[in-house]
C-alpha cells in the first residue's frame, strides 16, 4: 500500500472535517432564537443583565466571523466547548458515549454483512430458487420497515411475551462490581436486540446486493476458468466469486456507515442505549448547541474515518487499484 495515498486521503478527510466545523457553526448561529436566552432558561430564568453576562461569557456578542475563528481555533485544539445544559466539556460528554455508539454500530455492521452476504451467496447459487425469492422479499421488507418501529415491536415482544433479552440500557447496574467476563457477557446480552434491530435493514440490503453482485461475478469468464480447472463449487463460490463480489459490497458498506449512524440514533432512543445518538436527540430538545455541534462533528468524523478505511481496504482487496491514485 502506498503511504502517500493514505496521507493524501487523510488530509482530504481533515479538509472535509473543517468544512463540517464551519457548517455546524454557521447553521447554529444563523438559526432563529437567542442562545443566551436558552442558556438562561436552563439556569432557571434570566434578567437582561444575566443575558448580557452570558453573552459575554460565551462570546456571543462578538462579530460572527470572530466567533467562527474562535470556534475553529478551539476545535483544532480539541476543545469543543461546554454544554449549555450540563456545564461540562462537550468532549467529555461525547467521550462517555462514543464507545457504546461504536459498539452498537460496528456490531450491527458486522452482523448485517455476515448474515446478509451469506444469504446473498446462497441465493445467488440458484437465481430462481426459493432462497432467492426469500432474499428478495426479505430485502424489500427489511428496507421498508421503519427501524424505530421494529425496535418498539421487539420491545413489546421481549418485554412481556419472551422476557429473555433486556430491552433497555447497555448494562445491568447490579453488575457494577462483577468481573470483566460477566460484564462483557452482560453487555453482549443487552446488545442483542438493538444491534439486531439496526442490522435488519442493512442485512436485507447486503443480502440483495451480494446476490446481485454474485450473479454478476458468477457469469464472468474467470469463474468459468475456475470451473474449467476442476474447482469444487464451494471453492468457486466462496473463493473465486466472493472475493470479487465483495468489492461492491465493501463500497456500499463504506457508504452505509453514515446511514448506520442515523439509524443508531433512532435505535439508541428506542432502547435507551447510552450512546451519542441519544445525546444528540436530547441536546436537540434542550437546544444545547455546543453539544449538538460536537455530536455532529464526531459523527461526521466517524463517517470520514469509515470512508478512509473503506478506501484503503478496497485498494487492498482489489489489486487493480494498488499503486494508483
Amino acid at each position: 500500500m502506498n503511504s502517500s495515498y493514505i496521507l493524501r486521503r487523510v488530509g482530504y478527510g481533515l479538509v472535509l472535517m473543517l468544512g463540517v466545523v464551519v457548517l455546524n457553526f454557521l447553521l447554529i448561529r444563523l438559526a432563529p432564537g437567542d442562545p443566551a436566552m436558552v442558556i438562561a432558561g436552563e439556569m432557571g430564568g434570566a434578567t437582561e443583565e444575566m443575558l448580557e453576562s452570558i453573552r459575554e461569557e460565551y462570546g456571543l456578542n462578538k462579530p460572527l466571523v470572530v466567533q467562527l475563528g474562535i470556534y475553529v481555533g478551539n476545535v483544532l485544539q480539541g476543545n469543543l466547548g461546554e454544554s449549555f445544559f450540563f456545564n461540562q466539556p462537550v468532549a467529555s460528554l461525547i467521550a462517555q458515549r462514543i464507545g457504546p455508539t461504536i459498539l452498537l454500530v460496528i456490531t450491527a455492521q458486522i452482523l448485517s454483512i455476515l448474515i446478509g452476504v451469506f444469504l446473498g451467496v446462497i441465493a445467488a447459487r440458484k437465481p430462481n430458487g426459493v432462497m432467492s425469492g426469500f432474499v428478495s422479499v426479505f430485502a424489500t421488507i427489511g428496507y421498508a420497515v421503519p427501524v424505530f418501529w421494529t425496535g418498539i415491536m421487539l420491545i413489546i415482544l421481549f418485554a412481556s411475551v419472551f422476557p429473555i433479552f433486556p430491552v433497555e440500557g447497555m448494562q445491568s447496574v447490579r453488575l457494577r462490581g462483577a468481573d470483566v467476563f460477566t460484564k462483557t457477557l452482560d453487555i453482549a446480552h443487552h446488545l442483542i436486540l438493538p444491534a439486531f434491530t439496526l442490522a435488519i435493514i442493512y442485512l436485507a440490503q447486503y443480502a440483495r446486493l451480494s446476490r446481485a453482485s454474485m450473479l454478476e461475478v458468477l457469469g464472468s469468464d474467470y469463474i468459468r476458468t475456475a470451473r474449467a480447472k476442476g474447482a469444487a463449487e464451494k471453492t468457486v463460490l466462496f473463493k473465486h466469486a466472493l472475493r470479487n463480489a465483495a468489492l461492491p459490497i465493501l463500497t456500499v458498506a463504506g457508504l452505509q456507515f453514515g446511514n448506520l449512524i442515523s439509524g443508531a440514533l433512532l435505535v439508541e432512543t428506542v432502547f435507551n442505549w447510552p450512546g451519542m445518538g441519544r445525546l444528540a436527540f436530547d441536546s436537540i430538545l434542550r437546544r444545547d448547541y455546543p453539544t449538538i455541534m460536537g455530536v455532529l462533528f464526531f459523527a461526521s468524523a466517524m463517517v470520514v474515518v469509515a470512508n478512509i478505511l473503506t478506501d484503503i481496504s478496497y485498494r487492498w482487496a482489489d489489486p487493480r487499484l494498488r499503486g494508483k491514485s
Partner: protein
C-alpha cells in the same frame, strides 16, 4: 450462531439471577430510577427534582423535616428564633466534616445561604436575609430584614444545601462551577461517578456525622428517560424505587407487581399543581368573564377520572389541597356549560373566538393530553382552540416567559411554604419578562399583594391561615389560573425496603435511614 445464542442465554440466566439478588445482609445497593436529567448535582444554584434527589444525599443542610412538617436537627443540633422574628441562631454539630475531610463550619453555612440567595431561582426563600453572623465556628446567626416564617422550611436539605466554601468560594461563578458536577458535601453519601444524562453513583460516606448511618453502601440513580423502559426496569428488579411517577399507565401497571409497593406519600412539601394559566394581559383573556367561562366549561372530573384514570386528585385553588393553608370553601368552578355560554355571551363573544394553548413538555397525560382535551371541550362554548406544541422546554419557556401566549398548561410546585412556591405566581412585583415561573399571567391585584406581603411576615399561624384564605377567595374570583389537579406523584418501591422515603420531601431528603430488610 446457535452456540452464541446458547452462550448468551446462559449469561442471561446468570445475569438474571445476579440481578434478582437485591442486596447483602448489611448495606447493599439502592437503584433509583429517574426519568429526569439533572444538569448537575448542586441544589444550591439549581432548582428541580432531578438535581434535588442527588443533592440531598451529597449535601447536608441545617435542618430536616419529619412526616408531620416538624423541623428536626441535622447540621444544626439546635436552633432558636428570636421573639421579633428578625434573627435565627443555628448551633451546628461539632463533628461534621465534608467528604474531603474539612470540617463543616458556620462560615460554610453562611456562604451557602448567601450563595443560594444570590443564585437560586426561588428568590423569596432567602430574600429577607440580610447578613449571617458567625460568632464562632459552630454558631451562625441569620439576620432578617423582616420576620420570615418560611425560613425554617427553606433550611431543608432540598433548598439549603451546605456547600463547602473552600471549594465553591474560589471566585468562579457558582452557577457554572466545575465542582457542580463533582460536588463535595457533608451528607450521608458521596459522589463516586457521574455520567451526565446516564447515571449518578453515590457511595456511603463512612465519616457521616450521624453515627450508624447511612445504612446503605451505595445508591445508584439511573436515568431512563423513556417511562416504558423504566417500568420494565422496575418490573425486572433492575431498579428498586421509582419516585415522581405521574402517568396513570405507570401507576396502574406497577400496582400489579407483587414485589412493589405504590404510594402517593412523600410529596406533601412539593405541592405540585397542574394548572391552566391565562395571560390576563392578552386581548381576549383580559375580560374576567371569558376566563370564568373557560373555567366553567372545563370538566375537572373528566380529567382526573377519565383522562388520568383516577390516579390524580382535584385541585381547586392556588395552595395545594393537602396543605394546612388550603381553604376548601372557595368557588371550585364545577362544570356548567350553560353558565359558561352565558358568560361568553355577556362578554360579547356569543359567536365564539379563537385562542391558542401551549403546554409544558413533560408527562404527556398531565399536560398535552389536557390541552388536547380542552381543544375538543371548549368547542362547546364556541372557542376554537389551537394547540401550539413546543418541541422542547426552552421553546415553551421562551413563549411563556416572554408573555407570548394566551393559554398554557403548566405545572408549578408549592415548595412547602406558600412564600416559596405560591407568592411568586401572583405578586405584581414578580411580573418579570423572560423569567419562567414568575407571574407570567401578568396578574396584578394590589389587594392580593398586600395580603401576601402580610402573610409572609405573620408569625401567628392562625392569622397567617386567615390571610391565605382571603387570598384564595380573591384568586378564585379573578381566575388568573384555573386549577386542575394535583400532579399525582407516586413512588413505587421494592417491598423489602425499610423506611422508604415518605416524608414531606420524599426522595428529596437524605436517605440515611433506608435499609434492606434482608
Amino acid at each position: 450462531m446457535k452456540h452464541l445464542t446458547r452462550l448468551l442465554g446462559a449469561a442471561a440466566i446468570a445475569a438474571g439471577s445476579l440481578g434478582s439478588v437485591p442486596a447483602f445482609a448489611e448495606g447493599g445497593t439502592l437503584v433509583i430510577g429517574s426519568t429526569q436529567v439533572p444538569r448537575h448535582l448542586n441544589g444550591a444554584v439549581q432548582s428541580g427534582i432531578a438535581t434535588a434527589v442527588p443533592s440531598t444525599q451529597i449535601f447536608a443542610s441545617p435542618l430536616r423535616y419529619d412526616e408531620n412538617w416538624e423541623p428536626q436537627p441535622y447540621l444544626a443540633e439546635s436552633w432558636e428564633v428570636s421573639d421579633d422574628g428578625l434573627s435565627v441562631t443555628l448551633n451546628l454539630v461539632q463533628n461534621a466534616t465534608f467528604h474531603d475531610g474539612e470540617p463543616v463550619t458556620s462560615e460554610d453555612v453562611a456562604f451557602s445561604i448567601m450563595t443560594t440567595k444570590e443564585n437560586h431561582p426561588f428568590q423569596s426563600m432567602f430574600a429577607p436575609v440580610e447578613t449571617i453572623e458567625t460568632p464562632d465556628a459552630h454558631t451562625a446567626v441569620i439576620k432578617l430584614s423582616q420576620p420570615h416564617p418560611a425560613l425554617l422550611l427553606a433550611l431543608s436539605p432540598a433548598l439549603a444545601p451546605v456547600i463547602p466554601k473552600h471549594i465553591f468560594g474560589d471566585g468562579q461563578d457558582v452557577k457554572s462551577h466545575p465542582a457542580n458536577a463533582a460536588p463535595v458535601g457533608s451528607g450521608p453519601f458521596m459522589l463516586d461517578e457521574f455520567t451526565a444524562g446516564e447515571a449518578i453513583i453515590l457511595k456511603k460516606n463512612p465519616n457521616f456525622f450521624i453515627d450508624g448511618r447511612p445504612k446503605l453502601d451505595e445508591i445508584i440513580i439511573r436515568i431512563v428517560q423513556d417511562p416504558s423502559a423504566l417500568l420494565i426496569a422496575m418490573e425486572n428488579g433492575e431498579a428498586d424505587i421509582y419516585p415522581f411517577m405521574a402517568g396513570s399507565q405507570e401507576i396502574k401497571r406497577l400496582e400489579k407487581s407483587d414485589h412493589l409497593t405504590i404510594t402517593d406519600e412523600g410529596y406533601a412539601a412539593v405541592g405540585p399543581i397542574n394548572w391552566l394559566a391565562f395571560n390576563t394581559k392578552s386581548e381576549k383573556l383580559s375580560d374576567v368573564r371569558v376566563r370564568q367561562a373557560i373555567a366553567y366549561a372545563t370538566d375537572r372530573d373528566f380529567i382526573t377520572n377519565a383522562l388520568h384514570r383516577g390516579v390524580s386528585t382535584q385541585q381547586r385553588g392556588p395552595i395545594i389541597e393537602s396543605s394546612p393553608f388550603f381553604d376548601d370553601t372557595i368557588e371550585a368552578y364545577d362544570v356548567d356549560l350553560d353558565k359558561a355560554n352565558a358568560l361568553m355571551a355577556e362578554a360579547g363573544f356569543a359567536d365564539g373566538m379563537e385562542l391558542t394553548i401551549d403546554f409544558i413538555p413533560g408527562p404527556r397525560e398531565q399536560q398535552q393530553s389536557v390541552a388536547e382535551y380542552l381543544k375538543s371541550q371548549l368547542k362547546k362554548i364556541g372557542i376554537d382552540l389551537t394547540v401550539r406544541a413546543a418541541p422542547d422546554f426552552p421553546t415553551w419557556a421562551g413563549r411563556v416567559g416572554g408573555h407570548d401566549f394566551e393559554l398554557t398548561m403548566d405545572v408549578v410546585f408549592n415548595w412547602g411554604d406558600p412564600v416559596i412556591g405560591v407568592h411568586r405566581t401572583y405578586l405584581c412585583s414578580n411580573i418579570r419578562q423572560g423569567v419562567i415561573w414568575s407571574n407570567t399571567q401578568s396578574y396584578c391585584n394590589e389587594e392580593v399583594d398586600e395580603i401576601l406581603n402580610a402573610a409572609a411576615i405573620e408569625q401567628d399561624a392562625d392569622k397567617r391561615k386567615e390571610l391565605y384564605s382571603r387570598f384564595q377567595q380573591i384568586i378564585a374570583q379573578d381566575v388568573p389560573i384555573y386549577f386542575v389537579n394535583a400532579t399525582p406523584y407516586h413512588t413505587a418501591y421494592d417491598n423489602r425496603l425499610m423506611n422508604p422515603p415518605k416524608g414531606i420531601w420524599g426522595t428529596m431528603h437524605p436517605m440515611d435511614r433506608l435499609e434492606w430488610s434482608e
